[in-house]
């Protein structure tokens, strides 16, 4: 089987999300590997967005600063990209197709049902509406350390 993590696309939503994801992902990569980290700016598609685009682009760059520093300490090369779309999951898979990623790797984030209903359940969309392999990484900060430790 080819290595799913050979050239993964890693969507990150926030600094905390990026850290949780990289904490799970980086130890599983070979030294010298390359990953592509993307941040999706959700657009309303004709309406007024919930936050300004420039504001969210600034934030994406802040997240990428962290990502780049973390990857450098782990000796992993990283490319970053900002993608724009009305549906986060669709946009992630478009980005994955664009770079021909080996898989999409992410850490699901928590959120109550009603909030997910209101704001959209991106994690579910990522695992159910995909057209390429999806690697769901464990979130070590969520107290599942024993199983996680055992495999890494």
């Amino acid at each position: 089987m080819t290595d799913l993590l050979a050239y993964p696309l890693v969507p990150v939503a926030s600094e905390a999300d990026a850290e949780a994801t990289l904490r799970a992902l980086l130890p599983r990569l070979d030294a010298g590997a390359t990953i592509v980290v993307c941040h999706v700016i959700e657009k309303a598609g004709g309406g007024v967005d919930k936050a300004g685009v420039e504001q969210r682009e600034d934030r994406a760059r802040e997240i990428f600063d962290h990502v780049e520093a973390h990857c450098r300490t782990a000796d992993v090369s990283v490319e970053t990209r900002i993608d724009y779309g009305t549906d986060v999951a669709d946009t992630v898979f478009e980005a994955a197709a664009d770079i021909d990623a080996s898989a999409v790797a992410f850490t699901p984030r928590e959120g109550s049902r009603w909030l997910q209903f209101l704001t959209g359940d991106t994690a579910r969309d990522l695992v159910t509406e995909n057209d390429r392999p999806v690697v769901v990484l464990p979130d070590r900060s969520r107290g599942t350390a024993s199983t996680d430790e055992a495999e890494s």
């Binding site: 939503a13 700016i41 598609g45 004709g46 007024v48 300004g52 685009v53 969210r56 009305t86």
Partner: protein, 751 residues
């Protein structure tokens, strides 16, 4: 499609509906009763006058918007053209103006809501809230909450809302025509409201209906092909709404006498019931449609205002006029949640205040101030004509259009009542005070106007130059004090200080502290400085020359004192130093040893103490374990890297029980937080001191932060830092940050 195009997803229809959607909410559904009472049928002319006034500003906004399609809209243009003083006024005015308008919209929403559901009024300790206010407060809180979590909204929904609204209003108007009796309109300008003289006060009242077009500019960055679509949307929405307003007002007042409209609750519902009842026998349908449309319209107006105000906050934060903390994005919802909460709090407070008319007019006054400034800003941009100013759309009949736009905007304010103007002035004053006392030392972006005046100092009137000088943002004068003692280290200390001053646009203050025996009076010493210390003039002169090679401002001071070391602290306070750079060695200020206990461990400003073994900033080693003092060494490393292109190596020594990954994570985060992400990262283990010594062999300078106990004590205490200093061969810069504990900072939790 390129990313650039994807980020811009507002087409011409979407941009138009933002403007129309925001404007249609106010005038028609909330104000017609008061408006009819204010002027009678001639209020239709008031609406047209309002539209014309808006049109001038709309043209100016279009030109500025196509030249600078940036988030923040009107605020951004004013700040860019007129500078941060007026920027603060415009930003504050625009922000609070939107909050006033939102409160006004929500009260309108509450008014329609109580038509459908029963809401009780509340009387708490003599503070009473009507049922409309209660409904408005609840609805307002819901809107704030929805924007906080950022409900998924689609452009289609907005288009549907606006098209529905226009359809309903058109239906009511057309059906109303059949019940219209033109004789009801007579006298057109009734004497009891002041005849034609009531037109302008009427415009003042209803101007809140025209605040929507400026909101289009706050999302200018997201509009496709802004050169064409922005002017189309702004001017188009003003024209469409003006025509609709005028026609609807005429129909309303020809169906029902204006005196009746002015006194009954929900006059539009009443008119719709009459005309639907007369023509179709469906009075309930007419009333129901209007209630539905009223809820939709006021809700969409309020929503658009909340979204627009968070963009103004963002733009102000980017220009450092407000704290960046307000603009943090929620990690989960990706919304500017803090800005939304603060704006929401203003809105709820204004709802509790409750006077619809005052809120509407105060919102208008603040917007009119912004509009006036925006027109002036356009004139400044045209006259100064900076290279990057290249609008796709230009106003016709320049300079007449912006001049009239400014005059009419400021002029309409005079038609308001004193109470409404005063309420707005409070916030203008807050904006002004905010700039002068908070933002001026932080903002670093100067307006085109200030640049224009100051670059032509000689040709400009003196008063203009000095005014521009005194309000120019100074970004805070960064004052680097250097107490000099040993001529041998003068050059290195001044070089270091000048590099820091240069990077921070600051000033070097070279001081020479001449100590005299207690027997000698200070007056006597002052008259005989040269006799007491022959090196004084030479030392300060050398310092001045060395600093001037960096092109930084220099001040020199001679201080006569009985004390040496303590005087450094006093001088740092006297000369308002931000940072003090001093040498450290056997002959520097060594006479302090015996008096250590007298010294406070709190330093009066940031302190950098150089163990000088030659100034070579080629390879800087910065060990860190976190903490405020390493913040200072990081800042110095950044400045030196900027000045000398230094290699910066960050060193973290991990604990035995800490994994390499965790250590890497700590260092990576620390580096990013301190703007040093491109530095070299080194992680060592074992003894801290030995690790630092090992790495210091390749370094030319070691930048080390003091720890909690106070630098002075460390210097003399033989602790960790002390040993390292002696055991390495390179120069060592010891950093101790001033602990700031002012009330303000405790409250705001900064630093």
């Amino acid at each position: 499609m390129s990313d650039e195009e994807l980020a811009k997803d507002l087409g011409p229809l979407a941009a138009l509906t933002i403007g129309v959607g925001t404007m249609i909410g106010a005038g028609i559904f909330v104000l017609p009763g008061q408006a009819a009472g204010e002027a009678g049928p001639v209020i239709a002319i008031s609406f047209i006058v309002g539209g014309v006034i808006s049109l001038f500003t709309a043209l100016s906004a279009s030109e500025l918007g196509t030249a600078m399609p940036k988030a923040g809209g009107s605020y951004y243009y004013v700040n860019h053209a007129l500078g941060p003083l007026f920027g603060s006024i415009a930003g504050m005015g625009n922000w609070i103006g939107l909050a006033f308008a939102s409160a006004f919209y929500m009260l309108g929403f509450g008014d329609f809501l109580v038509d459908i559901v029963g809401v009780p009024g509340v009387d708490l300790f003599g503070f009473s809230l009507s049922s409309i206010q209660i409904a408005a407060l609840v609805a307002g809180a819901v809107f704030v909450a929805v924007n906080y979590v950022g409900a998924k909204e689609t452009g289609r929904l907005q288009n549907i809302i606006v098209i529905t609204l226009v359809a309903i209003l058109t239906a009511v108007t057309v059906i109303g025509f059949f019940s219209a009796d033109l004789s009801t309109l007579r006298p057109f300008a009734p004497a009891e409201t002041g005849g034609y003289g009531a037109i302008l006060p009427g415009t003042a009242l209803i101007f809140v209906s025209y605040l929507g077009f400026a909101k289009i500019t706050t999302v200018a960055e997201e509009i496709k092909n802004p050169g064409r679509n922005l002017p189309l949307a702004i001017v188009g929405s003003v024209v469409i709404v003006t025509i609709m307003y005028a026609i609807i007002m005429v129909v309303l007042m020809s169906v029902e006498n204006w005196k009746t409209l002015a006194t009954i609750p929900s006059p539009v519902v009443h008119v719709a019931e009459i005309s639907f009842g007369n023509l179709l026998g469906l009075a309930w349908l007419g009333g129901g449609l209007i209630v539905f449309a009223g809820l939709l319209a006021t809700a969409s107006s309020a929503n658009a205002s909340i979204l627009a105000s968070s963009r103004i906050n963002f733009a102000m934060g980017r220009d450092k006029l407000i704290t960046a903390k307000l603009n943090e994005i929620h990690p989960k919802f990706a919304t500017p949640y803090r800005s939304i909460v603060v704006t929401g709090a203003f809105i709820l407070a204004f709802i509790a205040y409750g006077n619809v008319e005052v809120l509407a007019k105060a919102g208008s006054v603040l917007h009119l101030v912004v509009y006036g400034l925006m027109n002036l800003g356009l004139i400044v941009m045209r006259e100064a004509d900076p290279e990057e100013y290249d609008p796709d759309f230009t106003v016709p009949f320049y300079p007449l259009t912006p001049i009239l736009g400014a005059l009419l905007s400021f002029g309409l304010i005079t038609q308001m009542k004193p109470e409404e103007i005063q309420l707005s002035l409070v916030f203008i004053a807050v904006g002004l005070g905010w700039y002068l006392f908070y933002a001026r030392t932080r903002a670093d972006k100067q307006g085109i106007l200030g640049q224009y005046i100051l670059s032509r100092r000689d040709d400009m009137p003196k008063a203009a130059v000095s005014a521009a000088d005194s309000v120019a943002p100074d970004g805070g004068d960064y004052r680097v004090m250097v107490p000099l003692a040993n001529p041998k280290h003068e050059k290195d200390l001044i070089t270091l200080a000048s590099a820091l001053a240069k990077q921070n646009d600051g000033t070097v203050i070279a001081t020479h502290i001449v100590t005299v025996p207690d027997q000698t009076t200070l007056e006597h010493a002052r008259d005989n400085v040269d006799a007491l210390d022959g090196t004084n003039d030479d030392l300060l002169e050398a310092a001045r020359e060395d600093a001037e090679t960096f092109g930084v401002d220099v001040e020199t001071h001679t201080i006569i004192s009985h004390r040496a070391f303590e005087e450094v602290f006093d001088a740092a306070r006297t000369y308002n130093a931000d940072v003090c750079v001093m040498g450290w060695g056997p002959h520097s200020h060594g006479r302090a040893e015996s008096r250590v206990d007298e010294l406070t461990s709190e330093v009066p400003c940031d302190f950098l103490v150089l163990k000088d073994r030659g100034f070579d900033p080629d390879h800087l080693l910065v060990p860190t374990a976190g903490g405020p003092d390493s913040d200072l060494s990081a800042a110095v490393a950044r400045d030196l890297r900027e000045e000398y292109d230094s290699t910066v190596e960050l060193l973290y020594v991990r604990d035995d029980d800490e994994s390499r990954d965790d250590a890497g994570e700590f260092l990576a985060n620390w580096a990013v937080d301190h703007d040093l992400k491109d530095a070299e990262f080194t992680i060592e283990d074992g003894d801290v001191e030995e690790a630092i010594e090992r790495r210091a062999r390749d370094a030319t300078m070691l930048l080390v932060g003091a720890t909690e106990r106070g630098l002075i004590n460390r210097l003399l205490g033989g602790t960790l830092v002390m040993d390292v200093v002696d055991d390495v061969d390179c120069s060592v810069l010891l950093a101790e940050k001033k602990r700031r504990r002012s009330l303000k900072e405790r409250l705001l939790g900064s630093e």
